[in-house]
Amino acid sequence: MISYCIETENLSYKFSESEPVLNNINLQVPQGSIYGFLGPNGAGKTTTLRLLLGLLKKQEGTIKIFCKEFQANRIEVLKNIGSLIESPSIYAHLTAIENLEVLQKIYRCPKSRIQEVLDIVGLSKTGNKKAGQFSLGMKQRLSIAVAILHNPELLILDEPTNGLDPNGIIEMRELLKKLNAGNKTTIIISSHLLAEIEKLVSHIGVINKGKILFQGTLDELRWKQMHNSVIYFDSNDIDKTKEIVLANGIIPLSSNGQLALPLIEKEIIAKLNKQLVEHGVEVYQISTSQKDLESIFIDFINT
């Protein structure tokens, strides 16, 4: 049985009497996974993450983190969570070390850990420079240092690559992979770009208009991608081609110049081709069109 680090049941939320921002969200984040929480802007990602952290008061549903009800075990649960919600949360008038000292006092972790995390995020040489003078990338890295200071079991990151340059995004990705592989840290990371986190995550949840549209492993999404593939038959006689295809029990998807078929096994493709040739149809081209993950994601949010 899969053990879930985060599990929500029918989580719903509305800011006012208007339409709910979240509607029966059943999030399941497996232990040790990197869970990509995808959705366009305004889909409900940040609201979900803020509810998970107790920054918003829960209205309906249940939230379990580390198999414990969040509200009843708030402090115990938060001891093992590191977070970064939207823009960096750092004290601009303090240095990187001082920022971490502020949290070290609360987490009661060893002081040596401050230097360790600064080394990890590459900010160990910032000296007396105040965090307010950091570039956005540096601020984001300091926020990551803040989030991992106490070696949490779970990291909740809301669009952590916002404002980072391509190099910064790669660095962040490698850092998170390292944390997940080395410390078995479960990571939930939200983004509105699939391409950005595709290379990082093991699991994906797609949310739009406050509803979860897909949840599963990246392989399951890839299987869906395969399933959505189309095979095109380009021939000199489209009607005859369609007739032969139908005779084989295959229903074409469309016949707009070329005959589009759903994904079929390669042996059947060969059989169809043979039959077409035998019936005097000239086959110019048989091609496969695969939908990439991004277009599947777009399909999800457009349905």
């Binding site: 920054l55 918003l56 402090i75 949360s89 750092i90 004290y91 949290l103």
Partner: protein, 256 residues
């Protein structure tokens, strides 16, 4: 124990903050003016230094502008600046996801402000002492003040002024926690301070929680006779504002 850690954490945050500077500058400002005055008018110092009420007069002069203007304004600014640290840095969300009670956060922040006030009183007292001693040591004809320092009066006054500024701290804290815009607590604070000055002669002026420092000073110099225990009232307002502030804080729907 968690409270102590939380307090230490909050104490670190005020480093390099304007509120910290205000405490130091505010503590030494009036004594420094008096010190300069004594040096400029040094001819009067020889006579003054042997007067039996030397320390008491210095103490009274030091509190003149402090009690009515500088102390309330300093409290308004410092309290607002301390809570503004979280708003300005967008760190409420970070603070509220730390493993500590909301009650601990609320009271550790308030404690930092109160301890800063104590720090101010300490520096002010040191300043007053230096303002009395330094000119006497520098001016040739003057000698070290003959009169003994009235420790009890100083201590009692310190305590009363401290209690009298507690309602200002609590109300400013309440407002500052509710509004992101720094101008709201500052604006409310200044408006209430102006109101407090305007009602000094009104018989029910003691109902305004920002008046007590001024009332205490006026009572001390014999210009006002109060029929109500203003220090008890001040403490009452402080408790009331703190309770309201606490309830509003913990019941806030959005915590960052």
């Amino acid at each position: 124990m968690q409270f102590i850690y939380s307090f230490q954490s909050e104490w670190l945050k005020k480093k390099r903050n304007l509120a910290s500077w205000l405490v130091i500058i505010g503590g030494f400002f009036t004594p420094a003016i008096l010190l300069i005055y004594s040096l400029v008018y040094h001819s009067k110092l020889a006579e003054a230094s042997v007067a039996p009420n030397f320390w008491y007069r210095l103490w009274e002069n030091s509190w003149e502008s402090m009690a009515i203007f500088l102390l309330p304004m300093g409290v308004i600014l410092s309290t607002s600046l301390i809570t503004q640290i979280e708003f300005r840095n967008n760190t409420w969300k970070q603070l509220h996801t730390l493993p500590q009670n909301l009650t601990t956060i609320f009271f550790s922040k308030l404690s930092v402000i109160i301890v800063m006030m104590l720090q101010f009183f300490l520096l002010f007292n040191i300043g007053v002492y230096l303002a009395g001693v330094v000119p006497c040591l520098l001016v040739k004809d003057a000698s070290y003040p003959k009169a003994p320092i009235p420790f009890f009066i100083f201590l009692r006054d310190n305590m009363f002024y401290f209690i009298d500024c507690l309602p200002i701290i609590a109300l400013q804290y309440l407002i500052s926690l509710q509004f992101k815009n720094f101008l709201v607590p500052i604006g409310c604070g200044i408006a209430l301070w102006i109101l407090s000055v305007a009602v000094f002669r009104w018989q029910y002026g003691y109902l305004i929680p920002y008046t007590y420092c001024g009332f205490h000073f006026l009572e001390n110099i014999g210009k006002l006779k109060l029929s109500v225990p203003i220090h008890v009232l001040a403490f009452g307002w402080f408790v009331l504002f703190t309770i309201i502030s606490y309830i509003l804080y913990i019941t806030k729907k959005e915590k960052g």
